[in-house]
Amino acid sequence: MKLSSRKLVLKSLIHYRKSAFNQAVIIMVLTAVFTGSLLTGYSVRQSLRDSAGKRLGNTGLLISSGLRYFRPELDSKLTAVTGIKTASVLETEGSVEKFGNGNRIENIKIYGIRHTFFTLNNVQGKFIDNVDAAINEHLARRLNLSIGDEIIVTHRQISDLPSSSPFAPSAGNIASHVFKIKYIFTEEEAGNFSLEIKQTSPDNIFVNISELSRNGKANRILIEKDNSFSTDEIFEKLKSILVPADLGLKVRHSERTGFNEILTGRIFFDSTLVKEIKSIIPGASPVITYLVNSTEKEGRLNPYSFASAVEHSLYPEVPEGNKILINEWLASDIGAKKGDTLSLTWYDPDRISDFEENQGKFIVHDIVKIAGKWNDPELMPEFPGISGRQSCSRWDAGMPLKTELIRKKDEEYWNIYKGTPKIFLNYETGKKIWASNFGSATAIRVPPDISRDEILNALTGSIEPVKCGFAIRNIRNDMINAANQSVDFSGLFIGLGFFIIASCFILLIMAVNSFLDSRRSQIFSFFALGFSNRKIKKLLLAENLIISVAGCLAGVFAGIFFNEIVVRALNGVWRGAVQTDTIKAVTGLVPSFAGFLAAFLTSITLQFIRVRKFLKEMQMGESREFKVINVKPELIRIISTLFITAGIILLLADYAILKEPLLSVSYSAGGLLFAGLILLWFFLIIRKEAPLHKTVNSELAVSRSYYSFYPARAVMPVLLISAGLFAVIITGVNRLKVNESSLSQRGGTGGFLLWAETTVPVKENLNTKEGKKAHGLSYFPAETIFFLQAKRLQGDDASCLNLHHVTSPPLLGIDPSTLRERKAFSFSTLLKEANPSDPWEMLNRTPGENIIYGYADQTVLQWGLKMRVGDTLIYNAENGEKLYIIIAGGLKSSVFQGYVITGEEFFSRFFPSVSGYSVFLAGGNPELTGDYRKILSARFNSYGINIMSTRERLEKFFEVTNTYLSVFMVLGGLGMILGVIGLAFVLRQNYNFRRREFALMLATGFMVKKIRKILLKEQIIILVAGVITGTLSALTATLPSVEKSTDIPLVSILTIIMAIIITGMTALLFAIRSIDKDYLISALRKE
């Protein structure tokens, strides 16, 4: 019996269920957008995490030797000391061709594996023999391959000796094999194994590791996940088992000199390794032996001699500075005596591919006999193309030798003494001229008192893996972090759903208001009966609380549904945004609850504010103060006319004066038109009527007298509808497109025509005559191509095509001089140290040791890397040192998206093993683009070239943004459709306000039908005015794009406009039906 507050609230809710239901539905939609967006973000990240986990299989940690190689048996040794599963693999990129039909895919991953790979991944009964290959399902599908098919696999030559290293043989940068497909691995069989942080499905080939290089080297060790070791501990273990042979180091004893010496398969030792070995073996002494192209004394010339730079400790006879010893053979050949000055030439070791020759003068200090330690052919490094050759003229030193200079006596010397150096100089001097990015010694010699075994023992377990280029990382964590910090689709969809959210807000405010308004008299009776303010507020808020909770709960389920649809769209029509079809819709408790909470707090706050304001108004004794608008209609008309005329003139001028109408001008025109039309509408409402009108059209007079008093009630809906439509149409039309300006030198293509990438680097500089000749590009029209060529360090794609947060994007090493000359590309941000008129010059600067500057696309910085200009990227340089790259600027969207650009000189210093160019921008005569493309793809076919026009490359990136724009348009359209439902509320509200007026009209003989018609007409006019204003001004703003482009989603835009009109009309008709005669009459009766 007792009337509790709970009962009061419930009874009220039941009574007002229709109104409450309306509110709950609006709240449900709001919640659905929140929850759905959060769930979409959650689903995307969860899918990324899942697929990262599946790709890694059982791998947890990764030891990488970067660009260098080691003996694969290291895995078994590591397993022996740790007891955990490990697997050495050789990871490289390449291309694959189906044997026979020429179908080919570039840029696939090739893994050289051992049995340990299967053990690690718990794959049983699989064995890959030398002729076998396994591929994954994705590749099988793409190339239509099945078991038993033969494939040709091409990749860059795997060798300890970088092919751009001095005197590396010129032949054989490319390796090709034919394999027979034995297995097609599923995901469970580690078929999708990948160390790359990227969501797209990989294309994998697995072959026997011994097939990929001459001595079956590896460059990665995969370590089982869930082991109890930290990365540091694993690294300690690795150090303890490292023997020189693992690192390609060899220790040999020289009978002739009594010395022991350490050699490396890379020929050159890094200075860091030299230092490391010197600290382990006291007395160890570096030697650098180099090829001298010519030794000349006053016109007498000796071609091609080896010269050794040695340290005082082992060769006390060798003087310092530019004094040298020469052997008697050389002395007699060129007639040199003690004290003579000789002129020596040699190739610059860092510019070997440009055949740059250096020259120096040296003074003969003494002449030695070819005996004892001066007769030491082992000083010549084991250049694969030189040592063991029958004759000097058969050398393959990786560069043109002038064989015509080689005389018979030279061949004789070679036959007798092999590579025995004819010149000896001090190590410090030799290092200055012959040390390079590749290293500073060709051998490390050890005095005879330390035996070979002692050296081997000393070097075992004592070399820091870092100093040999090893690095370890918890790749599993890295991948999960990259997924956790991937593109935030939650925020994205909440942003894209802005119009829906905004509409819900407006609708909710309207619904709450009309709910409160309709209960004004009851709330008044609560007052009169002596309910305290707090109590009334509590009662009202309790109702709202229940409505909100119900709406939010339903909204969570609607959100799950919303997510389901969005994910389906992302895998389908909106695939451009995610570049994959593997996103799975998942429902997480946390995002669902967060969506619930966010929507709940939003709606309850909104309701709270409205209720409080309403009660305050009631308290004031219902005295609403109306601000009388005091603007002169004439003035409004003048301004409106001014705006509209200015807009039209601007648009006409745009077309009349400029050949290519500017978007910015048309935008201004559209904006002016928009403002003008809204003002015109405003004017039409507030203008004073000529006295005549009353007799002419009394219906409209009724409306006008109301709206001229409350103009905001007519102008606001028009403003909202038109502004929303304006935004939706503009985003729909203005998709990113490659235009003339992006094709210009300052644009995103830098004025280049083609973008090409090769899987196998091209060693030669294609801008030189020799380089062009070497690749058959020295004839028309190929000779007219000029290249911007870049060395590439593989990394994780940081372009917008990758959803992950990337921390080590691929690097490009580019010689900035071409870019500087052409002033190519534009920057949206630059470090203040950079010279804005010559930004590329930054790539030549180094502000400190191991610090260089880099550039990346602004989009990459913002989304992929989440970095700002001035931030630093850290890389492991090849020799184990850290390389710091300061981001010096962000490029406006360019073809370089995904990469970080550095200066080639520095790049080669830190990554000398990257031997050649893999990324090319080709420029020339635009009309010959097609020919260029054909020529390049033919010439570099075996390099695994992938060519596209720079325009195509830009378009690929634009696809992502354009998909977002489409999503925005669709969701925006939905929001607008929701928004016009609000017109129904406006109608109800207007009716409530004017009830007395209508009742009076009824009393004076108006018919209810007529009153309804008046109300309906008003709102329809508002709807149409909004649609026309929005559409007209949006079309004006985007006219240049509409006119030119063919891919404008006209159908979608028209659909949206139609849907808005139809929904608006329907909502209005429903609202008008709810106004019945009795209601009006009861209002009348009360007067």
Binding site: L3, H15, A528, G530, S532, Q619, R1085
Partner: protein
């Protein structure tokens, strides 16, 4: 019991409505306030019921200044001391007649015993006003006269010392107006409730002991 001194009230658009109005009301005294539409009858009642605040002047209830009460104090004052009826019955559509009548009890915490007493009192009054058989009906199921009588019972449920009736018969037919007028008078004398009745109807006004008219914002006895 009630003393109104020099009450002034004006509205921005209308200007001055009450201009130094004064009034004395003894316990159980019944008065009628008449005057043309817009003269300020409702304004006066609202001020006395603390639904609105005067610009200046004093309202003393049992020698206590009430017009400076806080919002909460005013609500409590209305709940305990004042009963309101309006032209519109203002019954909540979602509560039964009985529930509507007991609604004022929900405004504050009541002991169960006290509550039971009030329910008894409500029955008594309903009996008295002839709406006993309507107690479980909803407002829209009863006639205008019956609803207005229910509103009267609701106004009396807390045994107020002062009943403020603003045009209570305004939407009633003559017969029902007569019934309500008589009830007002009888109940007032039976329970000793003072009444201020604002009305256009002279017939109704005459049922009160004193009749005033608002003229130029002041009360004039007729």
């Amino acid at each position: 019991m009630l003393r109104v001194l020099e009450l002034r009230k004006s509205y921005p658009q209308r200007g001055i409505v009450l201009n130094g109005l004064s009034l004395e009301l003894k316990e159980s005294e019944t008065i009628a306030v008449t005057g043309p539409s817009g003269s300020g009858k409702t304004t006066l009642l609202n001020l006395v019921g603390l639904l609105d605040r005067p610009d200046s002047g004093e309202i003393l209830f049992r020698e206590k200044l009430v017009n400076n009460y806080t919002v909460d104090e005013a609500a409590d004052y209305r709940n305990r001391q004042i009963g309101f009826i309006f032209q519109d019955h203002l019954l909540l559509p979602y509560l039964t007649v009985m529930e509507n009548i007991l609604l004022p009890l929900s405004a504050r915490q009541l002991e169960d015993d006290e509550y039971r007493v009030k329910v008894g009192y409500a029955r008594e009054l309903m009996e008295r006003t002839g709406i006993m058989n309507l107690s479980s009906k909803y407002p829209w199921q009863v006639s205008g006269g019956e609803a207005q009588r229910a509103a009267l019972v609701r106004a009396l449920i807390n045994k107020p010392s002062l009943l403020l009736a603003d045009e209570p018969t305004g939407s009633l037919d003559a017969a029902n107006a007569e019934i309500l007028g008589n009830l007002l008078k009888e109940i007032s004398s039976q329970y000793g409730t003072a009444v201020i009745l604002a009305t256009h109807s002279m017939t109704l006004a005459k049922k009160m002991s004193i009749i005033y008219k608002i003229e130029n914002g002041k009360l004039v006895k007729i």
